[in-house]
Symmetry: C2
């Protein structure tokens, strides 16, 4: 064996990967299949295996093997692999088990109560639990920060976006804040003159599902390595060898579930095309949450809402849902690009979505860095919604600062990934369009190879081989450049 | 803590139970949900957790805790619990890991190839793999036998039926062989004069599923703690807190899938009604495979095929599948009690089924005890099929000795459980009918409480508190007595 310590680490991580397979399956089942009565036993079983994985990563013997591997004359691939192992290992070892447990307990308690409190617009009730969640998140952020030298908020964000800094986010989001509000206004003025034909419900669930499967097929989803099911919150789960995506149907509307399937299929193809020879190692897994989101948004926003793609799938819509005036390509394109500032992030259109994200980034960063307290959130929320989107949220906690699950269980630092993903996706497509000036014509006739081949070569099979910044620069020839995002939005909404 | 060693064992077994939860879920998913491409990763993940459970049970430290617990002045409940822990622990420790691994490899290889070989009627091809499966099973049986003092075959059978002996099986099956062939002949003569109206296909799968759910509801299945899905081979899986049953539909026939659901619901209610306070301990789990089968056969044979039950669910059949001449209660009862000696065990009627089991018992026992070799099986099979059922299987390996999966992966000793289960079920119902002479009238109007209350009190909540013989005697007032089975069959098929 050439690198005995590295080989030993690989087999430890392969073992962890197999355990994570079972956790991923259990999580998918919990959301898509499990009856309520099974929840306690399921939670206990998943926690038990989670503890085992944590024990494996914090075994003092592993520290010695890692030290030994660092001394081995590894090739560059193995060095990258070791770098990613160490990232995961360090994170597991930085937090005492008592803190991890306290966080889990406080988060799941707050999250569980939030479901009722949100429905009741009960901010004060929520605050009683949420203060503890924030206190523990700050404690975690401090511990991570002492090790990384980053700010507390950056340390949390780096769990999802290794290498991203607040300085870069401020630069990028500061730029967006300069032009986005005006772009939204212009797009709305332009659209005010347009008429959109609403699709006539009902749409049978079984027909919507068949339509979704047909669209997944067009998008290259490998049904021998994955499934489509239903869950309350759509997601992409499972393992790279068997990717489970979900959607949610309502008979009143098919547009959201269909585009939701396009989105999750983007996540799925990334997973399905990770390099199989290293899939059991951290280096063989998805690069980051923003890079993951850049795949789903490449599918949903860059490809999915384009007139060329809508022209491609319009016959499928008619085939499965019947012919309607609303199903002209032109009208479908209008439906899928309608701009309307509103309360809810997950329902937001492509253009107003970044404003929702920037608002949350600014608030959660100040909260974790100790500049504001939980009590200050509603006033800040109201103020920023007014400035960024002209929406009045005063007293409306339910559709304001109580709308997202992320903060309720302490997942601070995740929100930027959504808009970073949208920006990466715009940058990929700028590159792909340069290589293929006839891209839209090819999409319209069903030739999606220019997109899939590029993503596969530059993103999917690269997995975590490079740090995110290098991945993006290798793929597109330049660092993250929000100008592509702006150009895409301007082209789509003002041209 | 009153019994520190016992308490320590309990927490070890709780941990194992949680891991087994994840294995059970993964197994269900593999059969009911997983796309083919996920199989290698799934197999590796399940094997990894299986190894961990085996390591936990063979940890030398556990031996010391068990020795200490034996010295504790345990109450009788804890003594019974310790007895069941020791049974599981001993079994894990009797076999070297190398043998377990070799068995798994040879079994899964033989089993996998068998699927094609059976279709091709290829006995010679099968034999090439099967010899190794038998060799390893004999090795296992020898090791178990040295410890238990039982015969090799008994030692394997005791994995499924702790406490059962070949002497008792010979007594019971010897008795059955005296009267069964004649009973089959008489029943066939009686039925020859009857006309049965065949149900007119097709039956939409969605309607069959709705009918199945309605029948499960009548049978008290707790949908908050379980589901109904589809798999190639119907089974009852999952965990007591979340029981997953499956069936298989064909548009040509609804009778098999409906009665299959009744059968699996019997297994499911046993699991769902195990005592929750000890569900994580061996003592809180199902007593044995025969006792499990006695629940499914109480539901399917004693209750499900009775005219009273068919009268109860006949309106559901009409509601979901439409009215048909074949759906009269009298005709449904004829369909569900039709006797016809034939090749296939899993398709056999209630009356000929025991002959299939006794034949397999006699062959596998001789095989494991070294009285015959794998090469001898077809001739023995042909001979016994001729004697017991008058069916000619010469040269027909596919529908003869190649029809079952059990031997292909080395599960020798399981077959007797099916007929023991049928006998226990007949004995329960003899007891219940004594307590409730009006049982059939109550069934017909939907009052199933006499059955469910009795099973719950006497079997389900008793779990593994008592050895099987004591469980049966406590429940019915006498040891296993095949006379009840004979009386039931005589009453149903000749009255
Ligand atoms: Zn997404
Ligand atoms: Zn059964």
């Amino acid at each position: 064996m050439q690198y005995p310590a590295y080989a030993s680490l690989s087999s430890t991580f392969r073992r962890i990967y197999r355990f994570e397979h079972l956790l991923a399956l259990a999580g998918w089942d919990q959301a898509a299949m499990m009856p309520d009565g099974g929840n306690d036993a399921r939670g206990a079983a998943m926690a038990e295996l989670g503890v085992l994985i944590h024990q494996t990563l914090t075994d003092p013997a592993l520290a010695e093997v890692i030290a030994a591997a660092k001394q081995e004359e590894l090739g560059s691939d193995e060095q990258a692999s070791l770098r990613e192992m160490i990232r995961q290992w360090e994170h597991a070892n930085l937090l005492p088990a008592s803190l991890v447990e306290a966080k889990t307990l406080a988060g799941s308690h707050c999250s569980h109560e939030w479901r009722t409190q949100r429905a009741n617009n009960d901010w004060d009730g929520f605050l009683a639990n949420f203060r503890e969640v924030v206190r523990l998140a700050r404690e975690e952020a401090q511990l991570l920060s002492q090790h990384s030298g980053l700010s507390p908020y950056e340390s949390l964000m780096n769990k999802y976006e290794p290498g991203m800094t607040c300085a870069e986010l401020d630069r990028i989001f500061g730029d967006v804040k300069q032009w986005l509000p005006d772009l939204i206004q212009q797009a709305m003025r332009k659209q005010a003159a347009e008429s959109v034909v609403a699709a006539q419900a009902p749409f049978a669930i079984a027909a919507q599902r068949e339509l979704g499967l047909a669209v997944m097929d067009k998008l290259g989803f490998d049904f021998n390595a994955g499934r489509l099911d239903v869950s309350h919150h759509p997601f992409c789960g499972g393992v790279p060898e068997d990717v489970r995506i979900t959607t949610r149907y309502t008979e009143d509307d098919f547009t959201q579930s269909m585009m939701g399937i396009v989105h999750e299929t983007g996540h799925a193809r990334y997973e399905q095309n990770l390099p199989r020879d290293t899939v059991h190692l951290p280096v063989g897994r998805a690069r980051s949450m923003a890079v993951h989101e850049s795949q789903s948004l490449s599918f949903e926003m860059q490809l999915g809402r384009s007139p060329a793609f809508l022209a491609l799938i319009q016959p499928l819509v008619c085939q499965h849902l019947g012919e309607q005036a609303a199903f002209s390509v032109e009208n479908l394109a209008k439906i899928y690009t309608r701009v309307k500032p509103d309360f809810i992030r997950v329902d937001a259109d492509e253009l107003t979505y970044p404003a929702h994200v920037i608002l949350r980034y600014e608030i959660e960063r100040a909260l974790i860095d100790g500049e504001i307290e939980p009590d200050d959130i509603p006033a800040l929320w109201d103020e920023k919604m007014q400035v960024y989107l002209g929406v009045d949220t005063r007293g409306n906690f339910k559709n304001g600062c109580l709308q997202d699950i992320h903060w309720t269980d302490g997942s601070f630092g995740y929100f930027p990934s959504y808009t970073l993903g949208a920006m990466y996706a715009a940058q990929y497509f700028a590159t792909i369009r340069q290589l293929h000036p006839d891209l839209d014509q090819r999409i319209a006739v069903g030739d999606l190879a220019p997109i899939f081949d590029w993503l596969k070569a530059n993103i999917w099979t690269q997995a975590s081989r490079w740090e995110t910044a290098e991945l993006i620069e290798r793929a597109t020839g330049e660092p993250l450049n929000p100008a592509h995002f702006r150009a895409h939005l301007t082209q789509r909404y003002l041209a």
